[in-house]
């Protein structure tokens, strides 16, 4: 069992710059053995929390990426149909009776474990990341409820499988649609927003140490400013870091409007966003030419 301080330490060691709110939420998710639902804009570091948590706990991260049409067969388990057939054919040649065969082909050997089942049957505690749950259908969300409250699943042929060690579950959502109240009730909730300028500067300094400290501060301020322009897709933290690396590679010494323009494609992924920022580049860049 980790203490609150160990989590802060672990986060720091994993180079994850964060705040009181995030640390407390992670601690509680572990202490109360509850799933943690993380919401926030795309690219604010939601998925990263799960990765870092797995690192802190020295355990495996099992990831379930949700998408439209995701069903139980993809998320939970599926019978290995081909293998069962081969087994039946082999069995026939050996002259096995149907009852014996039946016992064989509906055993764990013929089960294809998908992420959810894998997380539950894992011998030690793992971190289960259910990413972008808002992309999955409502039916799938309802199906998750049993799993999240009791950490058990029923496979008709095998009975109920219960987790030896409850996995630490992290769900993330970008709010493409409203999640059901039932799901929210079962989870702890955390909202992660884009970091403030100061926090982002720290992130850049830690992750891209090659970048000059003054330039890092300017870059953080610049990114913070363009996020306020109401872009179609505001730059994520990962993109900020890519941009910082690009600045290093380009040998930029000062963040003037030309330097801003050259590497803007790293930061902005829509043409109209780029036009918008370019038109204001000279006003936003800390150094004038």
């Amino acid at each position: 069992m980790l203490t609150r301080e160990q989590i802060s330490d672990g986060l720091r060691r994993a180079l994850y710059v964060t705040n009181e709110r995030v640390e407390t939420a992670i601690f509680l998710a572990l202490a109360l053995e509850k799933p943690l639902l993380i919401e926030g804009p795309a690219g604010a570091g939601k998925t990263e929390v799960a990765k870092v948590l797995a690192e802190i706990l020295h355990t495996e991260l099992i990831r379930l990426q949700c998408y439209e049409g995701l069903d139980e067969a993809r998320a939970l388990y599926e019978w290995n149909y081909q293998k069962q057939l081969l087994r039946m054919q082999a069995g026939e040649q050996q002259g096995l009776r149907w009852e014996e065969l039946n016992e064989h082909i509906f055993s764990r050997d013929y089960l294809l474990e998908r992420p959810l089942l894998k997380a539950i049957t894992a011998p030690s505690r793992v971190v289960l990341l259910i990413d972008e749950i808002d992309k999955a259908d409502e039916e799938f969300e309802a199906f998750l409820l049993e799993l999240l409250s009791d950490f058990q699943v029923s496979v008709p042929e095998l009975g109920t499988l219960k987790a030896h060690e409850r996995p630490a579950v992290i769900l993330t959502s970008n709010r493409a649609r409203e999640l059901s109240e039932a799901l929210r009730r079962r989870c702890l909730h955390l909202f992660i927003d884009f970091p403030g300028t100061e926090q982002e500067r720290k992130i850049i300094e830690i992750k891209v140490p090659e970048l000059d400290a003054k330039l890092a501060a300017e870059a953080a301020r610049f990114v913070g400013a363009i996020r306020k322009l109401g872009l179609r897709k505001p730059p994520s933290i990962a993109e900020t870091l890519d941009w910082a690396r690009a600045l290093v590679r380009l040998g930029v010494r000062e963040l003037d409007s030309d330097a801003v323009r050259t590497a803007l494609g790293v930061l902005l992924k829509h043409e109209d966003d780029r036009v918008k920022v370019e038109s204001k580049a000279s006003a936003l860049a800390p150094h004038r030419r």
């Binding site: 939420a25 601690f27 927003d193 300028t197 996020r227 109401g230």
Partner: protein, 419 residues
């Protein structure tokens, strides 16, 4: 019950009263969360938020209530043990009488300083005003009462303003505008019969994201499933290559569903908001259907269309006429019979209040026979169905489905279920 537990129960009750939905399980989580993190104020704040607040839109209410209930500890309580009650209530700031604000035990002034820094900026005014009053009360015993406090509160205000400016600069624009989300949620739950013109305008504003969501939802329901019935012939043929082992399953392709929609909406008096919002929602989801024909009615049938967000009807209807759904049904049945095919779903939105004119429920029965289905959406409260001049009970016997749609949320759910 321990006093702290009482406090938490009271706190949760206050949040519920403010409109935050908290289940019993969540309140138990909250207790466990506090037990896990301890009583350090900032930590407890975040712990309670994680357990109780599942929607960022509720966060402001939570922060405000938390500051009212769990006032920051005094640094110098030891010096004035007899002042406890008074000071606690002062520290409670905006606390209403009888709410019994509760001060957490403090370790030292240092901890307090730290907390103050980590506190969210909007929490500061209440706390600082309270602190100012507290200082005033303490000094007031020997010096002039008001002056010190005023000077202090001036200084506080200056600091606070500076702090806010800083916070403004610091805080990046969030992708999800919490206030906007809260507004959409509120308008979604406002019953149509409580709508004013202002609400209607607001609902129209909120509609844009709703339409998109609705379209996605509908599209998903109508989309072809990847798997379905097994195509036996193709499966066996594929198996022949493998000596008869059914290794690959082939599925029969599903036929695309063609759905024609015929919408009939009552735009008289009380139900007009519901009808207009429904028409607009459906106009946004037009692409999901093969053909959508919209009609509005009061005592006659008129074709409806949207131009720049305004309802256009031909011929124009007298909105204040006595609604007569029986006649409208007759007109539809006689003049527009071509629309009522096996592929058509008829959606009727109205309260079925027919001014005691003939209901013509028999025509609805005929329509059910001719079409894929007839769905009735009623914006009235189900408790009032069938009272007075409401003929909804008569129609209810004939239609394929009848659903209440008292607010935008129910309307969306009902409409999505149709497809």
């Amino acid at each position: 019950m321990s006093p702290l537990r009482d406090q938490l129960v009271g706190f949760i009750a206050a949040l519920r009263a403010a409109g935050v939905r908290i289940s019993v399980a969540e309140s138990i989580d909250a207790m466990n969360a506090v037990a896990a993190v301890g009583l350090e104020r900032a930590r407890m704040h975040e712990a309670l938020a994680a357990a109780l607040i599942k929607d960022e839109a509720d966060r402001a209410i939570f922060d405000e209530s938390f500051n009212r209930f769990f006032a920051a500890p005094r640094a110098n309580r030891a010096e004035h043990p007899d002042h406890r009650g008074e000071q606690v209530s002062a520290a409670g700031g905006r606390g209403r009488p009888g709410e019994n604000p509760f001060a957490l035990p403090s370790d030292d002034a240092l901890a307090r300083d730290r907390e103050e820094k980590s506190l969210p900026s909007e929490a500061k005014p209440a706390k600082q005003a309270a602190a100012a009053r507290r200082h005033g009360a303490e000094k007031g015993k020997d010096a002039e009462p008001g002056k010190d406090a005023r000077r202090l509160s001036d200084r506080m205000r200056a600091r606070q303003e500076r702090g806010e400016a800083q916070a403004r600069e610091e805080s990046p624009t969030p992708d999800i505008d919490a206030a906007r989300v809260a507004r959409i949620r509120a308008i979604e739950r406002t019953p149509f019969d409580k709508f004013s013109d202002l609400d209607y305008d607001e609902a129209r504003d909120a509609l844009a994201p709703l339409i998109r969501r609705f379209r996605i939802r509908l599209g998903r329901r109508l989309r072809l499933a990847r798997t379905g019935r097994i195509d036996f012939r193709r499966t066996i043929r594929a198996a022949l290559q493998r000596g008869g082992a059914l290794i690959d399953l082939n599925f029969r392709a599903r036929r695309p569903r063609h759905v024609d929609l015929v919408i009939l909406a009552d735009i008289s008096g009380s139900v007009r908001y519901a009808a207009q919002l429904m028409l607009e929602l459906m106009a946004g989801a037009r692409g999901c259907f093969r053909r959508v024909s919209s009609f509005v009615y009061v005592d006659h049938l008129a074709e409806a269309d949207f131009e720049d967000g305004h309802l256009v009807m031909t011929p124009a209807l007298d909105l204040y006429a006595r609604s007569d759904f029986g006649r409208v049904l007759g007109e539809l049945w006689e003049r527009r019979a071509g629309l009522l095919t096996r592929a058509a779903i008829v959606v009727i939105m109205g309260d079925g209040r027919n001014n005691r004119l003939p209901a013509r429920a028999d025509l609805v029965r005929e329509m059910v026979r001719a079409c894929r289905g007839v769905v009735w959406l009623n914006p009235e409260d189900p408790a009032r169905w069938g009272t007075g001049d409401s003929a909804i009970k008569q129609y209810a016997r004939e239609v394929s489905a009848l659903a209440a749609s008292r607010n935008l949320r129910e309307l969306q759910v009902a409409l999505a279920a149709i497809a």
